[in-house]
């Protein structure tokens, strides 16, 4: 699985409310009850880091 940071299309700032899952173009909100976010947290615990946001 590959994750990527997102930039807000309007402010051009890195978003702190969501992460992007590249394979299925999914935007995952940082909600502890979201099961995709739970999977992302495990992925981080394994030592992985997301790709930087597209410019």
């Amino acid at each position: 699985m590959t994750y990527q940071y997102l930039k807000d299309p309007y402010t051009k700032q890195n978003r702190i409310d969501a992460i992007y899952r590249v394979e299925d173009r999914a935007t995952i909100p940082l909600d502890p009850a979201n099961t995709d976010y739970q999977v992302y947290l495990k992925w981080l615990e394994e030592g992985n880091t997301p790709e930087p946001a597209d410019e």
């Binding site: 807000d8 299925d24 935007t27 009850a33 979201n34």
Partner: protein, 357 residues
Amino acid sequence: MPLTQIKTSNLDSTNGLFFRNRIINGAMMIDQRNAGASVTPSSDAYTLDRWTTWTYAASKFSVQQNAGSVTPPTGFVNYLGITSTSAYSVPTGEGFAMMQKIEGYNMADLGWGAVGASSVTLSFWVRSSLTGTFGGALNNSAQTRSYPFSYAINSANTWEYKTVTIAGDTTGTWLTTNGAGILLKFGLGVGATLSGTAGTWAGANYASATGATSVVGTNGATFYITGVQLEKGTAATPFEYRPYGTELYLCQRYYTQLVGNYSPDFSVPNASYVNYWTHCWQFPQAMRSSPTVSQISGTTITMDQYGIGPATVSSNQVGSVNQYYGRITVVTSSPSSADPGSAISPTGTFWQASAEL
């Protein structure tokens, strides 16, 4: 259903006439993702609404609403159909199942994990090309508590009605929140280390009963199921038919799609973003959690300019999302500029929101 078919002895003060069934889409009516098309999951994946595969190896079976087009049991029009795509010998530590995760809020009244836990009764219609003893299990979310169960299919390619009564679990941790409360699995082939003795609770991760028939072990084998009901008490009552709209609404707490057909409007917010078109998507109801929002696989987003012709979409992004709303922004290269307030609209269904367990 005539009310006389429900014995009052089967009801208590908390298992009433309505919403007895803790299973959502037990009649397999709702299929938002695939609309009746067959899918062969390569990993755990939701198929018909609320029903997910539990799988250790890719592509060992297909799932389709009304697969094989057999006549459903009387009173039903849909079923979930599994077809084995190979003759797979399941290794001891692997397993395959169809599963529904029941939200903790919807089983909290059972009082599981403490003295006084209520019994539940599972009932369903099943039909298979195979005969023999089949299995399944109930688990907690951590899969540290398991109740394997077994049932017999006596005649091939014949619908049979099954019931299983399960004593409530007085130990273990059972979530009563918006997390997964009970996991219900119907085994399709489960290895020995993931199988346990039927009819008793165990502090282990079991997905089926020891010795159960493997559906994925026979190429072309079928396993069809419908009318799944899990209710409080020690007796099975007739299946609770809920209106289609009610069942769809229950499903949409977990999954929904932005159905576009020359609506809704995506509009330019202001003069600083003349080719940015935004829509605030209001979900049909409060979703279980803030959902993951994505473009539906295989779709190409097309937008219409209300009589002017199609727009050319260069990118799209999902903005802030909570349980109630998600913001989607589409950027176009043509038109490259439009007045604030101008609108375009999608010509199909391109986005989905998932808050599944």
